[in-house]
C-alpha cells in the first residue's frame, strides 16, 4: 500500500513520517516514533489507554488515523514530564497516592486527569470520576486515582 508523508508535532518536536493510510495514530506513535508510553488496550475506543492530547484536547489515538494528525500538535505521557526531566505535580500526586498498580492504564489516566484539571481547576470526587470514567483500570478500583487528582488540584489551588 502506498505510504503517505505526514508531518506532526509530538511533545513539541516536529516529526515527518511515512505511514500507510490505514495506520492508526497510536501505532504511529508507538511503532514509528517509538513512544511506547501510550498504550493499546482495546482498539475500539472504550478503554482509554491510548489517550493523548490533540491540539489541547484529550482524544483516543486508536480511533484516529495517523494521516489525520498532519499539522497537529500531540502530547503523550512522555510529554507531561518537564524539559528538565522532572515529573509534573499531577504525576507526583499519582505517585504519592499509589494511583497505579500495573501502570498500563496510567498514561491514559494521566492524560484524562491532565485535561480535566486544565478545564476545571477544583473538581470534586464526582467530577473526577466522571472525567476518568472513559478510562478503564482493572487494578486500582479507581479510589487512589481520584485521591491523586484531588491532591494535585488542591496543591495547585494552594500554590504549592
Amino acid at each position: 500500500m502506498k505510504e503517505i508523508e505526514v508531518t506532526l508535532t509530538v511533545n513539541k518536536r516536529v516529526h515527518t513520517v511515512n505511514v500507510a493510510p490505514r495506520m492508526t495514530l497510536v501505532d504511529c506513535l508507538r511503532d514509528i516514533l517509538r513512544l511506547t508510553g501510550t498504550h493499546v488496550g482495546c482498539e475500539h475506543g472504550v478503554c482509554g489507554a491510548c489517550s493523548v492530547m490533540f491540539d489541547g484536547e484529550p482524544v483516543r489515538s486508536c480511533l484516529m488515523f495517523a494521516v489525520q494528525a498532519e499539522g497537529h500538535e500531540i502530547t503523550t505521557v512522555e510529554g507531561l514530564v518537564g524539559e528538565d526531566g522532572e515529573i509534573s505535580d499531577l504525576q507526583d500526586s499519582f505517585w504519592e497516592c499509589h494511583a497505579m498498580q500495573c501502570g498500563y492504564c496510567t498514561p491514559g489516566m494521566l492524560i484524562s486527569s491532565h485535561a480535566l484539571l486544565m478545564e476545571n481547576p477544583s473538581p470534586d470526587d464526582h467530577d473526577i470520576r466522571e472525567a476518568i470514567s472513559g478510562n478503564l483500570c482493572r487494578c486500582t478500583g479507581y479510589q487512589q486515582i481520584v485521591e491523586a487528582v484531588k491532591m494535585a488540584a488542591e496543591r495547585r489551588q494552594e500554590g504549592l
Binding site: 498504550h39 503523550t76 498500563y104 476518568i132 478500583g141
Partner: protein, 774 residues
C-alpha cells in the same frame, strides 16, 4: 519486634518509570528485522477440521510462512505440560470418577483433529507487517464439519450432552468426595431445619488491561530462543516452552518485565508463546504477536464458572450442625487448571464452625475457552455459596443474620481450626473483624439512612459477608542477595509482579533486615537468565514466600559477612555488632559497611570474590486471610438503576508490609469482585456456543463513575506460620464482594418477594424483579 521500614507506606519504586511512560511491557519490545504473526482461530465451538487451505493466503503480499498443526506435528512440538492437578502438600487432591486417574488431554498448540471452542488457534500466518499477516489470516480457509456444542456447565454434565473428548464420553473428568457422609447424613436427619440453595456463579474473564503479547527471537548461531512475554512467572514459562519445543531448559530465555495486570489469567502457558519461538526458528527472523482485545475475550483463560447445590442443617437454636455441597466446575475445552475447584473445595464451610460436612467436587469439559485461577481462584464462588446460604437461612427461619453468624463463627480460641473438609485455618479474629467492620460501616445508623432514602422514593439495601480464603501456592522460592561495592544491593527473586509493587515491598523487607535505606535495594525479577528458580506470583504467595526467603537470605548474608568483616577489621567475630548496614567493633569507632566490605572482598585474593548469598526455602503450610465486608445499595424502584452508597471492609492480611499497597489491593479487589456481581459476564449463545461478549461494548467493565470511595481498615493478626507473620492482601477484596453485594440487593428487594438474584445484577434485572413483585 519494632520495625522501621516494614509497615510503612513507602512510595513505590516502580512508579518512577511507569509515570513517565517508560515501563517495559511485552509489546514495547521490538528487535531489528522482526516480523508479525496473526492467528487463525476457530469460528465454531465444536467441529472436525477436514482441511485447511492456505494456498491463497500464502500468495498474499508480505507473507513469509503459514503453519498449521500438521507442521507442528512434523516438527514434533509437544503439548503444553500444564500440570492442572493441585499437588502441594495441603491442596485438596482431586481424582477422576470412581477413583480413576484424572483425564487431562493434550493441549496441542494447533489441533488437527477438531476444534473445541470458538477462538481456538488453528494456524498461524507470519508476514513482514502486522497488516499483511492479518489480511492473509483472513483468507486462510478452514473446512469444518460442525458438531453439536455445549457451553453451559450444568448441561455439559447432563446425559446425552455432546462429548468434548472421546476419552471422557460424559465430560465428567473429576469426581471426588470430601468430608464425612455418614455423620453428615445423621446430622441432617436430626436437624430442626434444613435450608437449601442452587447457585450458579457464571463465567467471567480476567481482562488485564495489557493484552497478551510475545516476541520470539531464535538465534541461529547459538540455537537459543529468547521469548519476550509477560506472564505470572517466567521460570515456569521457560520450562514449559522448552518442553514444547523439545529443547533443554536453558536453550530458552524468557524475559518478562512490566506486566499489565494478571489476576491469574497469565499464570499458565498459552500456545502463542512457544508458537512465536517456533515460527522464528522456521523463518530465521524474530516473530512478534500481540493479542487484540477481541482475541483476548475469545482466547484468554477465563474464570469462575461453578454450579453448586448447598444445604445447611441447623438445630432449634440456630446452631449449624452440618453442611452439604455439590460443586461442579467448568474447566472448558482443555484442562489447564483445576485450581478453582480444588481451592473452593477446601473452604465450603467458610468462616463458620460447622462440625461435619460432605462435599462432592466434580469438573466438566465444555465447548468453551479453558478456565484457570482468576483472582482468588475458587474462593469467591464458595464464599458466595455459604454467605448466601446463611443469609437465606436467617431470612427464612427468622433469625437475625448477624446473630446467626456470630453464634456460629469460628472463634480465636479455636485457632488453629481444622474445618470439616480438611483445611486448618492458621489464625484470625473473625468476631473482632465483624465488630470493627460494623462500627466502621455505622451499622446502627442504617435504619435512619434507609428512612431518609425512602423519603426520596429510594430503596436502601444492606449486604454483609464474612470470608476466609486460603493462600497456598508453589511452596519453593529462592532469593539471591548480591552486595555491590557501589552502594547498592541486588535482590534476585522468582516472583513476578503485575502491579503488586514487589520492587518496593520486597526492598522494604531486605532493607529492614540489613539496616540500609529502601532505595539502595534493587529487586530483579522476570529474566530467566538472571532468575533461575522461582514459583511466580499466584494464590497470594508472593509476599509470604518471598518475604520469608528474603529474611532467611539476609540473615545468612549477615552471618557470612560477619566472618569476613572480622578478618578485615582484625577483630573477633564475637566483638562485632551489626547495625545500619555495617559491622562495628563493640565499644570502638572501628566499623565497615556492607558495601565497603564488598569492595575489600572484591580485591583481596584471600577472601571470596563476592559478597553474595543464594537461599532456598520451602514452605508448605497455607495461611488463611479473612475478614468482613458490608455494603449499602440505593435502588431507584422506578428504573432499577442503583448505586453502591457505602462499602466498608476490615481485612486480616496478616502483617501488612506496605499498607499503601495493601489498600490498593483491597480497593482493586473489591471492584473486580463487584464487576462480576453487577455486570461482567462471558455470555454465550447456548445453541451455537458463540461467545456474545467479544469487546468492551458488550462486556461490562467496572468504571470509575459507578463506584464510591470505600472505607477500608486492617485487622492485622500475624500468621504464626512464617517469620514476618504475612498472610496475603491480594484476594481479600474480591473474595466476599460477590456475596456482600447480592446480599445487599436481596435485602433491598425482599419486600418484592425476592429470595435470590442471579449475577450479574443489572439494573434491568432489578427493574424486572420489582415489577414482578409489585
Amino acid at each position: 519486634m519494632k520495625y522501621q521500614k516494614i509497615g510503612q507506606p513507602v512510595r513505590r519504586r516502580e512508579d518512577a518509570r511507569l509515570l513517565k511512560g517508560q515501563g517495559r511491557f511485552s509489546d514495547d519490545w521490538s528487535v531489528d528485522g522482526q516480523t508479525y504473526m496473526a492467528v487463525v482461530r476457530s469460528t465454531y465451538a465444536h467441529a472436525f477440521i477436514l482441511g485447511i487451505d492456505v494456498e491463497v493466503a500464502r500468495s498474499m503480499p508480505g507473507v513469509l510462512t503459514i503453519l498449521t498443526g500438521d507442521d507442528a506435528r512434523l516438527d514434533n512440538l509437544a503439548p503444553i505440560p500444564h500440570s492442572p492437578l493441585p499437588s502441594t502438600k495441603h491442596d485438596m487432591k482431586l481424582e477422576g470418577p470412581n477413583g480413576s486417574e484424572v483425564f487431562i488431554g493434550d493441549h496441542t498448540l494447533l489441533p488437527t483433529d477438531k476444534v473445541r471452542y470458538v477462538g481456538e488457534a488453528i494456524a498461524i500466518v507470519v508476514a513482514e507487517t502486522l497488516a499483511q499477516a492479518e489480511d492473509a489470516a483472513e483468507v486462510v480457509s478452514v473446512n469444518y464439519d460442525p458438531l453439536p456444542a455445549v457451553t453451559d456447565t450444568a448441561k455439559a454434565a447432563e446425559n446425552g450432552a455432546p462429548t468434548i473428548w472421546d476419552e471422557v464420553p460424559d465430560n465428567i473428568c473429576v469426581e471426588t468426595f470430601f468430608g464425612d457422609k455418614e455423620r453428615t447424613d445423621a446430622a441432617f436427619a436430626a436437624a430442626q431445619d434444613v435450608v437449601e440453595m442452587d447457585i450458579v456463579i457464571d463465567r467471567v474473564t480476567g481482562v488485564p488491561m495489557e493484552p497478551r503479547a510475545a516476541l520470539g527471537d531464535y538465534n541461529l548461531d547459538t540455537g537459543r530462543y529468547t521469548i519476550y512475554a509477560g506472564s505470572g512467572g517466567s521460570v515456569r514459562q521457560k520450562r514449559e516452552i522448552a518442553e514444547v519445543l523439545g529443547v533443554e531448559g536453558d536453550t530458552v530465555r524468557v524475559v518478562s518485565k512490566d506486566v499489565g495486570g494478571n489476576f491469574g489469567t497469565r499464570n499458565r502457558l498459552y500456545v502463542e508463546f512457544p508458537l512465536v519461538g517456533w515460527a522464528s526458528r522456521k523463518i530465521g527472523r524474530p516473530v512478534k504477536w500481540t493479542c487484540d482485545r477481541g482475541e483476548s475475550f475469545l482466547s484468554d483463560y477465563q474464570g469462575r464458572d461453578l454450579v453448586t447445590r448447598v444445604s445447611l442443617a441447623l438445630d432449634d437454636a440456630g446452631q449449624f450442625l452440618a453442611m452439604r455441597a455439590d460443586n461442579l466446575s467448568n474447566v472448558g475445552s482443555r484442562m489447564v487448571s483445576l485450581s478453582p475447584l480444588s481451592k473452593g473445595s477446601g473452604l465450603i464451610t467458610g468462616s463458620y464452625d460447622i462440625p461435619v460436612a460432605y462435599l462432592r467436587s466434580r469438573a466438566v469439559f465444555s465447548n468453551t475457552a479453558p478456565t484457570n485461577a482468576y483472582r482468588s481462584s475458587g474462593r469467591p464462588e464458595v464464599t458466595f455459596a455459604i454467605e448466601r446460604l446463611v443469609e437465606t437461612a436467617a431470612a427464612e427461619l427468622g433469625y437475625d443474620p448477624i446473630e446467626l453468624r456470630r453464634k456460629n463463627l469460628v472463634s480465636s480460641e479455636q485457632m488453629p481450626y481444622p474445618n470439616a473438609v480438611g483445611m486448618t485455618y492458621d489464625s484470625g479474629e473473625y468476631a473482632k473483624s465483624m465488630d470493627m467492620c460494623m462500627d466502621l460501616a455505622d451499622w446502627r445508623g442504617f435504619e435512619t439512612r434507609k428512612k431518609e432514602a425512602e423519603s426520596r422514593g429510594m430503596l436502601l439495601g444492606r449486604g454483609f459477608a464474612n470470608y476466609v480464603e486460603s493462600s497456598i501456592g508453589t511452596p519453593r522460592e529462592q532469593a539471591e542477595i548480591h552486595v555491590r561495592a557501589d552502594g547498592h544491593i541486588d535482590l534476585v527473586i522468582g516472583t513476578q509482579p503485575s502491579g503488586q509493587g514487589h520492587e518496593t515491598s520486597f526492598a522494604q523487607v531486605a532493607a529492614e533486615w540489613l539496616g540500609v535505606p529502601v532505595n539502595t535495594i534493587s529487586v530483579i525479577v522476570g529474566d530467566t537468565d538472571l532468575v533461575k528458580v522461582g514459583g511466580g506470583s499466584h494464590s497470594g504467595r508472593s509476599m509470604r514466600m518471598a518475604g520469608t526467603v528474603i529474611v532467611k537470605a539476609a540473615d545468612e548474608l549477615i552471618e557470612k559477612s560477619k566472618k569476613l568483616a572480622a578478618v578485615v577489621l582484625e577483630a573477633a567475630e564475637t566483638d562485632l555488632e551489626f547495625h545500619d548496614g555495617k559491622f562495628q567493633v563493640v565499644g570502638t569507632d572501628r566499623e565497615i559497611s556492607l558495601y565497603a566490605l564488598a569492595e575489600v572482598v572484591g580485591r583481596r585474593s584471600d577472601l571470596p570474590e563476592k559478597l553474595s548469598v543464594i537461599e532456598d526455602n520451602v514452605m508448605e503450610t497455607p495461611v488463611f486471610p479473612n475478614g468482613c465486608h458490608i455494603c449499602e445499595i440505593e435502588i431507584d424502584p422506578v428504573s432499577g438503576a442503583y448505586k453502591i452508597a457505602r462499602y466498608t471492609t476490615v481485612d486480616d492480611v496478616g502483617r501488612a508490609i506496605n499498607p499503601l499497597i495493601v489498600d490498593g489491593q483491597t480497593h482493586g479487589g473489591i471492584v473486580q469482585g463487584a464487576g462480576e456481581a453487577l455486570g461482567e459476564l462471558c455470555a454465550m449463545d447456548p445453541e451455537s456456543g458463540q461467545p456474545l461478549a467479544g469487546s468492551f461494548m458488550d462486556y461490562h467493565m467496572p468504571r470509575a463513575d459507578e463506584y464510591p470511595s470505600f472505607k477500608t481498615e486492617l485487622n492485622e493478626v500475624p500468621s504464626p506460620t512464617n517469620p514476618l507473620g504475612v498472610k496475603a492482601g491480594g484476594e481479600g477484596g474480591t473474595t466476599p464482594a460477590l456475596a456482600v453485594l447480592v446480599n445487599g440487593f436481596v435485602d433491598a428487594l425482599r419486600p418484592f418477594g425476592v429470595r435470590d438474584i442471579q449475577m450479574p445484577v443489572t439494573p434491568r434485572k432489578v427493574w424486572e424483579l420489582i415489577k414482578a413483585g409489585s
